[in-house]
């Protein structure tokens, strides 16, 4: 019974909040919101939108930053896979990159900001010896008007995501035989991969790339930390309007959220054009017949870009850790004058509340998500019908629709239902984002399970439920725990859903950290970002250690 309910529940949990939320956003955008006196439909809010100062620039920023960040991340991942897949270096870099997936976006963005600011770590290391700077130069690096540092912040976080998604696809594309084939035709490694294997991989990861693009065009927390301020990107301004004490601004915010939806859709349309152009130029180059055998430079560039992205995040996080224990630390000193645990002892006693909420919500959302995903997949195994493209698109839906566009409406609905700022509401909102990741992480190992075990169980007269509980789930302990750890990490990193749905009543580590970021107190941000990073790492450690301990006497299940 439970298993049969799997697919409908999953669809309800994924699509329900999004559709309800979109309705709650679109109606006020067209002037309908009885609680605020809007009882008739009008286009006033959309007329007001173009009059906002710098709105055109905000839209262009969102669009441009999203496209650039996506293009660069996809290119780096493709080049790195092309140059190095199947090598030892590849395995090493992969191990280096994997933990980065669990670093929340905001923490990575803080780290980057402390690294590259004119008074940041890099400038301190080379000053005044190399630069002669006794005081930091007046350069607009962070919050730069073109959004370059924002794009960089997104790139270093999207590369690990795209790499890990591509790895799953790579294994199914039988890369070794393809590589042998193109090599026998005389192609160089990089060109051979791009011509022969990449198209098959890209077809599989396309939705993930779309998700990256949708996220990058509509991100709020990273844009608030690294993005331009006058004007800010569209998404940041939306959230500002939403929190404006003048409630009539809600109509404008809703219209802006609809605009954001349009911007993201336009970005996706442009991206489809980019895909076509890339495919055409690939075909043209391919038809020229050049083999590109001397591709050492391209390979090094791929490796260099990939390692650089990882190094930037790690260096940023190390700088954060340093700040959290720093006493007075003036420019251009490369190290604090003194170290102190004062920040930690000040902050830790007060971190209990947010930490409790973070853990409770993450645990609840993850448990539900894992259960729903298992029921869904179990039903799929029973009926033998994989969801296909439609189901996959549905799973990606929460990652494709800009968060602000449906969260505003969802917040409004919860508010009117008196359900806002409650733990269940927050869990539900997190679930919308946790479920897709849990799903994507669990579905491949689930489908790769050897179904002959089920046949043996059936032959021994065991029910399907019994076979699921006593055989399949234990064998899949590790992938299930890894999926849970992924979901846990996603929940911890959620900023906008927590901010809007909890209305400040249920602060989490992430909302506290982003709120503190505006205060620029690097010591305190360092503590919060460190915890933000630590929690997912603990999750992944459990996912690795528990199966190892559980199955230490079972050779075939050892990791």
């Amino acid at each position: 019974m439970l298993i049969r309910l799997g697919p409908p529940v999953a669809i309800l949990l994924l699509a329900g909040p999004i559709l309800a939320g979109l309705a709650g956003t679109v109606l006020p955008a067209f002037g309908y919101l009885p609680a605020l006196g809007g009882t008739s439909f009008s286009l006033d809010a959309f007329r007001q939108l173009p009059a906002e100062p710098g709105i055109g620039r905000s839209v262009m920023l969102s669009l441009g930053v999203g496209l650039v960040a996506t293009l660069v991340s996809v290119s780096v991942v493709a080049l790195f896979l092309a140059g190095w897949s199947g090598t030892r270096t590849f395995a090493r870099v992969q191990h280096l990159i994997s933990p980065l997936l669990s670093v929340p976006h905001a923490a990575a963005a803080f780290g980057l900001a402390f690294l590259i600011a004119p008074s940041g770590m890099i400038a301190r290391l080379v000053s005044p010896a190399l630069t002669g700077w006794e005081q930091p130069p007046d350069l607009q690096i962070v919050n730069d008007p073109l959004g370059l540092s924002l794009a960089a912040g997104l790139i270093v976080k999207e590369i690990p995501f795209l790499l890990l998604v591509s790895l799953a696809a790579l294994q199914q594309a039988s890369p070794a035989s393809r590589a042998a084939l193109v090599a026998s035709l005389g192609y160089g490694r990089v060109a051979g991969f791009l011509f022969g294997t990449w198209p098959a991989i890209y077809r599989q990861v396309r939705l993930a790339v779309f998700a990256v693009l949708a996220f990058s065009t509509s991100v709020v927390d990273v844009a608030a930390i690294l993005g331009p301020t006058s004007p800010a990107t569209l998404s940041v301004r939306l959230v500002g309007w939403m929190g404006d004490p003048d409630l009539s601004m809600r109509f404008l915010a809703s219209a802006g959220a609809v605009l954001q939806l349009g911007v993201t859709a336009l970005a996706l349309a442009i991206w489809v054009g980019v895909e076509r152009a890339a495919a055409m130029s690939r075909d043209m180059v391919c038809e020229m017949g050049t083999r590109f055998r001397r591709d050492g430079a391209a390979r090094m560039a791929g490796l260099g870009a990939m390692s650089f992205a990882a190094t930037v995040v790690f260096a940023g996080l190390a700088t954060l850790a340093l700040w959290s224990a720093a006493g007075l630390w003036q420019f251009p000193e490369a190290l604090p004058r003194e170290f102190t645990l004062r920040t930690w002892t000040n902050v830790l006693p007060r971190i209990g509340g947010p930490l409790g909420v973070t853990l409770a919500v993450a645990a609840a959302a993850t448990t539900i998500a894992v259960a729903v995903a298992i029921f869904y997949l179990a039903r799929e195994s029973e009926t033998g019908r994989a969801g296909g493209r439609g189901a996959l698109a549905l799973i990606y839906l929460p990652l494709l629709v800009p968060q602000a566009s449906f969260l505003f409406g969802l917040q409004l609905l919860f508010l009117l239902a008196g359900f806002n700022a409650s733990l269940p509401a927050l869990v539900l909102a997190h679930l919308v984002f946790v479920l897709p990741y849990v799903f994507l992480s669990l579905s491949d190992p689930w489908r790769a399970y050897d179904r002959r075990y089920d046949a043996i169980a059936a032959g021994l007269g065991k029910s399907r439920l019994r076979a699921l509980l006593s055989i399949r789930l234990p064998i899949l302990t590790r992938p299930i725990l890894v999926a849970a750890a992924v979901g846990f990490a996603v929940s911890i990193g959620q900023y906008l859903p927590t901010l809007l749905i909890a209305g400040g009543r249920l602060p989490t580590i992430t909302t506290e950290a982003v709120a503190l970021a505006s205060g620029g107190n690097r010591r305190v941000i360092g503590v919060y970002a460190f915890l933000q990073m630590l929690l997912p790492v603990i999750g992944f450690a459990i996912a690795t250690l528990v199966p190892a301990l559980l199955w230490r006497r079972f050779r075939a299940l050892r990791v």
Partner: protein, 406 residues
């Protein structure tokens, strides 16, 4: 959808029928009894860690003494809390509101008073500790940005605009003595001064300081804005900013988001002059290891803005008795003395120290105000805050002119 909305709204309307009796601070014993076991949700700006720590301490004390639990809802702008209360009023939620106490003054107080969003009648002057409040020498306690307070909010601390610089890097004698002097200094040192981006209240206060110095007739600021002459009257301010912005930090294309972010810029030597609304702020920062101990304060001899900040209770607060107990605790000699300690926060007291019992006098006498804090007689004259509507109009105008600087 329509049905859902109207059903939800009528639900709120229904729940509003039962009115509870308002707690009366004149009968303090009953207030204390009511308050026991209540949870007070206090919406207060949460951008400074030392202030958050102080609020945490106050929460611990009232829980221990009166059994009142305090939850600090950290907001980045008090206006958001006002928005919450307004939204609740619009939705018909006349009791059981989400906000019990707001840290507030100026235009937010004015709009709450105007919209009838405050617990009334006036309660602040009936609090037991009110007898120590220095209403004689601190006129801004009863007049908040020209608006009569009438006991609708209880004073918490005093504020005065004060500038800071690092005496190890810049010469104290070269520091500007007026807004014009500041402009001349900024021109001579391009990229070494900035201010928080309005509508941050410290940033907006800088605009008001310049306006108060540059306006032809300062008396106009005590009255609401006259729209017809607004452009003429504020022309000196915006002319000033037009000249100032190109020589600001990042050429005026980016601004720090608030005071703590600007303080970090001084610590990083990105700017040379900063300012705060709290005279002992620099000493607090030195005590916390955030600024070097060579930082010193100065003000303008012609006067700088001064005001009082308050706490107010919304009309629909769920824990009014608890909020009263907290408001009273905040003006107790003990809490006020601790607040003025630069090692804790350094926010000046609203009490008349000479009227306190001996114990309270001793607590204040024992305070070391720190090397960077000016003595009361060095703080210079106080300029009155303009009518709150000026701040709103100037902020809108600022956003229109400079909000899209790139």
């Amino acid at each position: 959808m329509k049905f859902l909305l109207s059903a939800a709204v009528s639900l709120f309307a229904l729940s509003g029928f039962a009115f509870a009796a308002e707690p009366d601070p004149a009968k303090w014993d009953e207030v204390l009894k009511d308050a026991k076991g209540e949870t007070v949700y206090w919406n207060a700006w949460g951008g400074a860690e030392n202030i958050n720590a102080y609020i945490e301490w106050a929460g611990g004390e009232i829980e221990k003494r009166y059994g009142v639990r305090l939850v600090h809802l950290k907001v980045d702008d008090a206006a958001k809390a006002v928005g919450t209360v307004l939204a609740e009023k619009a939705a018909g939620r006349t009791e059981g509101g989400a906000v019990d106490l707001i840290w507030i003054n100026g235009e937010n107080f004015a709009s709450m008073k105007r919209e009838g969003l405050l617990m009334s009648p006036g309660w602040a002057e009936k609090l037991p500790n009110w007898r120590y409040v220095d209403v004689d020498n601190k006129p801004t306690i009863r007049t908040d940005f020209t608006i009569p307070v009438e006991g609708l909010e209880s004073p918490w601390g005093m504020a005065k605009l004060v500038f800071f610089h690092d005496s190890a890097k810049t010469d104290p004698a070269a520091m500007p003595k007026s807004a014009d002097g500041l402009l001349a200094w900024a021109k001579a040192h391009p990229g070494r001064f900035t201010y928080p981006q309005p509508p941050d209240f410290v940033g907006s206060s800088f605009l008001k300081q310049v306006l108060a110095e540059k306006i032809a007739d300062r008396a106009l600021l005590q009255k609401p804005v006259d729209e017809a002459s607004f452009d003429d009257v504020t022309k000196p301010l915006f002319d000033y900013l037009d000249v100032l912005h190109p020589v600001l930090w990042r050429s005026g294309k980016a601004f720090p988001q608030n005071y703590p972010a600007m303080k970090q810029l001084l610590a990083d030597s990105e700017v040379d002059i900063i300012f705060a609304f709290n005279p002992s702020e620099a000493s607090s920062a030195i005590a916390a290891g955030e600024l070097p101990d060579t930082v010193r304060s100065f003000t303008f001899p012609g006067g700088t803005l001064a005001n009082t900040h308050f706490v107010a209770i919304p009309f629909n607060a769920a824990a009014k008795a608890g909020a009263l107990v907290l408001a009273d605790f905040l003006i107790s000699p003990e809490a006020q003395a601790r607040k003025q300690d630069p090692k804790v926060w350094g926010d000046p007291t609203v009490l008349a120290v000479d009227r306190l019992p001996d114990e309270g006098k001793a607590a204040f006498a024992a305070l070391d105000l720190g090397v960077a804090t000016l003595k009361p007689d060095e703080l210079g004259p106080a300029l009155d805050e303009p009518h709150p509507i000026w701040m709103e109009r100037i902020e809108t105008e600022w956003k229109r002119r400079y909000g899209a600087a790139n």
